[in-house]
């Protein structure tokens, strides 16, 4: 896990202050289901657990969604740069696990997008409430020539006891880094994956670097060889 700068650092700082407070809720289960096709469809299935002996109403649950991409010169990304942007979201839907409606407001900020779920259903003492938020976005995938990359951060201001990620795609998954299974309040973890239409096995590193590095190396080799022959 590592911090994700700016808005995430704000949350990390805030929770360092709260670290020893009495927690009233925690995320008992956070399942992130990602479908990769032309774009990305994300379904977050979250189980909130009431940790106290009185009913609580979760109220507002805000998803802050931010896109961090390298700055670009024409169509070419500039390494070691970062640009923070809001995310274009579509098909937003939220409901409880038993199908009750949850109202979602979408707010675009300068460098992130908020999906604010209004959960007015009380959770009984020490009981759970599971809700689902789904949305689609083409901004959550970085498409290249042969490969497409996703790197999704996951963090919150309360403890996540169990985090799982599942993916679905017609494309071949050629690289994957799983996130930490547990996240303390204020922490953050990443799920990274690379997809391609090429039938390549996983080799422990992104094929986009491997193949293009190889092409670059072979090209340089051929040029050097041909120059020596001439």
């Amino acid at each position: 896990m590592r911090p994700l700068s700016l808005i995430l650092i704000v949350i990390v700082t805030l929770n360092a202050v709260h670290a020893q407070e009495a927690w009233v809720e925690e995320i008992e289960m956070y399942n992130l289901s990602i479908s990769v096709d032309g774009g990305v469809k994300v379904i977050s299935r979250i189980t909130l657990k009431n940790l106290i002996s009185k009913p609580i109403v979760p109220g507002l649950v805000e998803f802050r969604i931010q896109r961090q991409v390298p700055m670009k010169l024409l169509i070419f990304p500039i390494p070691f740069t970062s640009d923070k942007k809001p995310v274009k979201i579509s098909n937003v839907e939220a409901k409880t696990a038993d199908g009750k409606e949850i109202k979602v407001d979408i707010k675009n900020h300068e460098d992130y997008t908020s999906l604010i779920c209004q959960i007015w259903y009380p959770i009984e003492p020490h009981a759970n409430l599971t809700f689902l938020l789904s949305y689609s976005s083409e901004d959550l995938i970085e498409k290249g020539i042969l490969f497409s990359e996703i790197a999704i951060p996951i963090g919150t201001d309360m403890n996540i006891k169990k985090l799982t990620v599942t993916t679905e795609s017609k494309l071949k998954k050629t690289y994957e880094v799983l996130p930490s299974p547990q996240i303390p309040a204020g922490g953050i973890t990443f799920y990274r994956a690379e997809f391609s239409s090429l039938p390549l096995p996983k080799v422990g590193m992104p094929w986009s670097y491997l193949i293009w590095g190889l092409i670059l190396f072979v090209t340089a080799g051929i040029i050097i060889m041909s120059k020596r022959r001439s």
Binding site: A22, K54, P55, Q68, I145, R192, S226, K227
Partner: protein, 600 residues
């Protein structure tokens, strides 16, 4: 504060003492963290008036993680520690029970007033903490920068699954307030104390003494909770309550502040780890005499033995006596193994001989036509009891030079340095089946709050009637009702848990320094926006249950109400990078460069 021993000392005192070091840390979240270390000591003391010798102790060590080690040798000899049971058996003429013992200790001489102490470390993970501490406060958080008082509920109970069966557990305790960082306090407390209204909620009959402790500059900041024998927790927990006052200058939004500690003294009248003394063997001052009579005309000789207890205060039991005669050797030493036929006698009298007393065997005859030499030997040992040796077991808290006991319970409470929201709900009969509902939302902290959300639930068989409003009206940030008489931000039907409706009000930031009395008619605080009152009226019908109306929630997290649900923020998005176009560009540039060079 010590516990008096209730057992009189015997001349030889063999004591197994489990020494338990415990620390407990309380939090405002009502959780307790314990750390514990058990060490078993075996103390052997000569409390009598006679020098004792040949002391053997057979010890059964339980769950030891270290060898038995000499801790203190105050005897006049070396101390032998051995695991060789047959050696111990031989040395005590078979009088020391060795079955079940792991290790044997031999002290050749232990004079009057001398003491030997041995110890080993116990595997603490095998045992639970003997005294459980549960502490709670009547508030979960207190605001900074004002003098506040909170009630402490302290419960001490025996960990029945951990203490030995049939044992009694006695406790006394002293509570100290402290703003000394070197003594479990926080120097953010500018005022701490006094302790007041101490009361026992159980029935141990403990007495309270408030006194001036050393860890704050104030008075009445320490409290002794005692009874003459200590409260016996095996008969039930000790519940006490007392009030603490304090003023903190915490600047942070939220800080878990230490405000002192309690020192717990405890004693268990049994051994905690299960270690045991299998047997003790010891001797003391004695005299043995043989008598030879004869011969008569038939050359018959008589032999007998007399054993005298020459000690001042110990009683012996005579175990084995052997009596025999060998031929005299003129000018030389008799051969002890040339036993004259008929002279060898061995017997086990098993008699006890008190100090100054003696025991004489019968006379035994044998025939020998020369001069015999009569020999006798014996084994004897101290009896178990008041005039011999006693084995005692007890478990005590580890002694601490500074505090008296190492069992320190560190106490903390959350102090809010910024805003602190308190919500109070009133359900008041208004005639017939009508009830007035008042939600009083106060900021008792020292800073302006952020936007506050207040949640409330309407039970089944109730209906909101007549009106619903917020005072002052300007404090309702968002009114989505569209009805001049009913003001709310969110109205949710069938929110679950059997409730009929849920309401939420989004309030503008509330000004600080409300007094926190929950008064819904405090016009001064209401007009200063320190206190906001939400009012509505419900009417019950059919089988309505008024008790279900007592529920209220507030957001944000810095709230006195435990049912507060903080606004949850989840961060996600994308940090993906794809540099394929850059790689393709580099390859293209390389090829282009090569072509250009080749054409030249």
């Amino acid at each position: 504060m010590v516990f008096l021993s209730s057992v009189a000392a015997a001349p030889l005192d063999v004591r197994v003492i489990d020494n338990i070091e415990v620390a407990a840390e309380m939090n405002s979240s009502y959780s307790t963290t314990y750390t514990m270390n058990i060490t078993t000591f075996i103390n052997i003391s000569n409390n009598g008036n006679d020098d004792l010798s040949d002391i053997w102790i057979a010890i059964d060590m339980v769950n030891n993680v270290s060898e038995l080690t000499l801790y203190y040798n105050g005897s006049s000899s070396n101390v032998l520690i051995t695991g060789n049971a047959s050696y111990a058996t031989d040395a005590t003429y078979g009088n020391l029970k060795t079955a079940g013992a792991d290790v044997f200790v031999h002290i050749p001489i232990l004079r009057v007033g001398e003491k030997v102490s041995l110890f080993y470390d116990v595997d603490d993970s095998k045992y639970g903490v003997p005294v459980l501490v549960d502490e709670s406060y009547n508030v979960s958080k207190v605001p900074a920068k004002k003098t506040v008082s909170w009630k402490v509920y302290l419960n001490l109970s025996a960990n029945s699954s951990a203490i030995p069966s049939g044992a009694n557990l006695y406790v006394n305790l002293t509570k100290y307030l402290s703003n000394d960082t070197a003594n479990f306090g926080s120097d953010n407390w500018t005022v701490l104390g006094p302790i007041a209204n101490a009361l026992e909620l159980s029935s141990h009959g403990v007495s309270f003494t408030v006194w001036n402790g050393p860890y704050t500059s104030g008075n009445s900041d320490a409290l002794n909770v005692t009874s003459s024998t200590g409260a016996n927790l095996t008969t039930g927990p000790l519940n006490i309550t007392f009030d603490v006052s304090g003023k903190s200058n915490v600047e942070a939004r939220s800080s878990l502040e230490k405000f002192g500690f309690a020192v717990v003294y405890f004693k268990i009248d049994k051994n905690y780890s299960g270690a045991g003394i299998v047997d003790v063997y010891a001797t003391g001052p004695a005299r043995i005499q043989v008598t030879k009579e004869g011969p008569n005309s038939a050359m018959e000789w008589n032999e007998s033995v007399n054993i005298t207890n020459t000690a001042q205060g110990v009683t012996y039991v005579i175990r084995n006596v052997t009596l025999w005669a060998v031929p005299v050797v003129t000018g030389g030493f008799p051969d002890l193994t040339s036993v004259i036929s008929g002279s060898y006698q061995t017997f086990s009298p098993g008699v006890t001989v008190a100090p100054g007393g003696n025991w004489t065997s019968a006379k035994y005859s044998f025939t020998y036509d020369n001069i015999p030499v009569i020999w006798a030997n014996m084994s004897f040992e101290l009896v178990q009891g008041a005039t011999g040796y006693q084995i005692l077991e007890e478990t005590v808290n580890e002694y601490n030079d500074t505090y008296g006991s190492s069992y320190i319970v560190v106490e903390k409470i959350i102090v809010i340095g910024s805003y602190l929201i308190k919500a109070t709900k009133y359900v008041k009969p208004a005639g017939g089946n009508l009830y007035d509902i008042y939600l009083v939302v106060e900021n008792i902290g020292g800073e302006r709050s952020p936007v506050v959300w207040v949640y409330d639930l309407v039970p089944q068989n109730f209906s909101v009637v007549n009106k619903m409003n917020v005072t002052q009206a300007s404090m309702l940030r968002t009114n989505n009702s569209g009805n001049a008489n009913f003001w709310w931000t969110v109205n949710q039907t069938n929110p679950g848990l059997g409730y009929k409706e849920g309401y939420a009000w989004e309030l503008n930031p509330i000004e600080p320094n409300a007094d926190g009395d929950g008064n819904y008619s405090d016009t001064a605080e209401i007009s200063a926006n320190q206190s906001v009152v939400i009012y509505y009226q419900v009417q019950g019908s059919g089988d309505y249950r008024l008790t279900e109306a007592f529920i209220v929630g507030v957001d944000p997290i810095l709230s006195m109400n435990m049912q507060s649900s903080p606004r949850i923020t989840i961060v996600t998005g994308s940090a993906a990078r794809n540099y394929e176009s850059l790689f393709a560009l580099a390859t293209g540039l390389l090829l282009t460069g090569a072509v250009v060079v080749r054409r030249r």
